[in-house]
């Protein structure tokens, strides 16, 4: 049994994956094999164009050759699908980056996430991080632009429970050594990033 396949089928699979990722709000594993096959298809198409053009040496040819148009359309479509897939992933990565308040080491040390990224994407995140950090440093120390913007602050202080040890942290009341199981009443601004990263929990 032979599998019949049209040009562009693989690219459709790729885009479907992006859609699924959006619909389920999860980052899927980077689909390297599929991308490689699409790139192979692109090379094939380019060769078919080249060989069609060679056969056109015929002096009676009037310039109209529908197969060329089909190849060209397939090439353009595949290319756009490839770029759309990568662009969609970049958007997701940036969302994840901001969701943890720009704590890149925290993101990259998560084995589950790390396994889904391609090496280029890890590079991208690192470079993006340094760009954002440079942007942030333009503001005064008072204002950390990477802090959360989903909930406006209602109270100055917050009661937290320590879920994971996170060592000694500088706060308004002096340094506090957060140990698992303890509870503290602390200034929200001092420890907000620890809540975001899952070290502390609001009670």
């Amino acid at each position: 049994m032979t599998e019949t396949r049209q040009f562009g089928d693989l690219a459709t699979q790729l885009v479907t994956e992006s859609r699924r990722s959006t619909a389920t709000d999860t980052l899927l594993k980077y689909n390297d094999p599929l991308i490689r096959s699409i790139i192979r298809e692109q090379r094939q198409l380019e060769q078919m164009i080249a060989s069609t053009l060679e056969n056109l040496a015929d002096p009676e040819f009037d310039g109209a050759n529908p197969s060329l148009l089909i190849y060209q359309t397939a090439i353009l479509r595949n290319k756009r699908c490839l770029l759309a897939y990568h662009s969609h992933r970049i958007d997701r990565l940036r969302d994840m980056y901001w969701a943890v308040g720009g704590a890149l080491p925290h993101l990259l040390s998560d084995q589950d996430i790390r396994g889904k990224l391609s090496p280029h994407e890890v590079d991208f995140l690192k470079q993006y991080n340094s760009a954002v950090m440079d942007f942030r440093s333009e503001f005064s120390d008072e204002l950390d632009i990477t802090a959360g913007i989903t909930q406006p602050p209602k109270d100055l202080h917050v009661l937290v429970r320590v879920v994971r040890d996170c060592g000694v942290i500088q706060t308004e009341l002096g340094t506090i050594d957060f140990k698992k199981g303890q509870r503290f009443m602390v200034r929200r601004a001092d420890i907000e990033h620890l809540i975001v990263q899952g070290y502390l929990e609001e009670v």
Binding site: R43, H86, H120, Q127, A131, F135, S140, D144, A189
Partner: protein
């Protein structure tokens, strides 16, 4: 506002005039509702940040002073809460712009008119991000493709452009802050908004009114 020496001093306001914070809140809402990037409010932002810093210093000073009374401590707490809230708005404002800047980074780099609306830092970030995205595309996709297919600016009929631009036809709710001069609607007729009136229109219709501060987006 809190003062180290005496009771809180309020901004002195003429009737109908807005405080710096109200001004920022308006720009923040405009920015959040507009599909396009609006002009940067660098001066306003700088002033507010200065103010936050001063307030913070004052608060630190008062907290350290053992003679502050119970009532003063309560006032300090209110001031601190207020500072946090202002910071929240500033942060959200900055991040909203950052989001749009990254989304349209390649368009910004190619369009000088838009660049004028950005602060120096923002423009730098836009350039850097556009470059970052292009080189990412190049490394992951384009360099493996045949030579002829490596462009990032193909213009093909029936395909959306490769450089995304803000969609100025998106509908926005605009509220008139004063009586506005007439604007031309897409069907050729004109419409005039009275003070306080709210209309739902495509963004480009009220773009000029917004730039002059005659309407605000709600």
């Amino acid at each position: 506002m809190l003062d180290a020496r005496g009771p809180p001093v309020q901004f002195e306001l003429q009737a109908g005039e807005e405080t710096k914070l109200q001004e920022l809140t308006r720009h923040w809402m405009n920015e959040r509702h507009a599909p396009d990037i609006l002009p940067a409010q660098s001066v306003l932002l700088g002033r507010l940040l200065d103010h936050i810093r001063k307030q913070n210093d004052t608060v630190q000073l008062l907290r350290a002073d053992p003679d502050s009374s119970e009532e003063e401590h309560f006032r300090i707490m209110l001031a601190q809460t207020e500072i946090e809230r202002v910071k929240f708005i500033v942060r959200s404002y900055v991040r909203t712009r950052l989001y749009k800047i990254e989304k349209y980074a390649r368009y910004i780099v190619a369009t000088p008119e838009v660049q004028e609306r950005l602060s120096e830092t923002e423009l730098q970030h836009a350039r850097r991000y556009a470059h970052l995205v292009e080189s990412h595309f190049h490394r992951t996709v384009l360099q493996s493709l045949p030579e002829e297919q490596r462009g990032l600016a193909d213009e093909t009929a029936f395909m959306p452009p490769m450089i995304p631009e803000p969609d100025k036809t998106r509908a926005v709710f605009a509220m008139a802050r004063t009586n506005c001069p007439p604007v031309r609607l897409p069907d050729g007729s004109t419409s005039e908004m009275e003070k306080g009136q709210i209309s739902l229109t495509p963004y480009y219709v009220v773009e000029q009114l917004l730039a002059r501060g005659e309407v605000e987006l709600v």
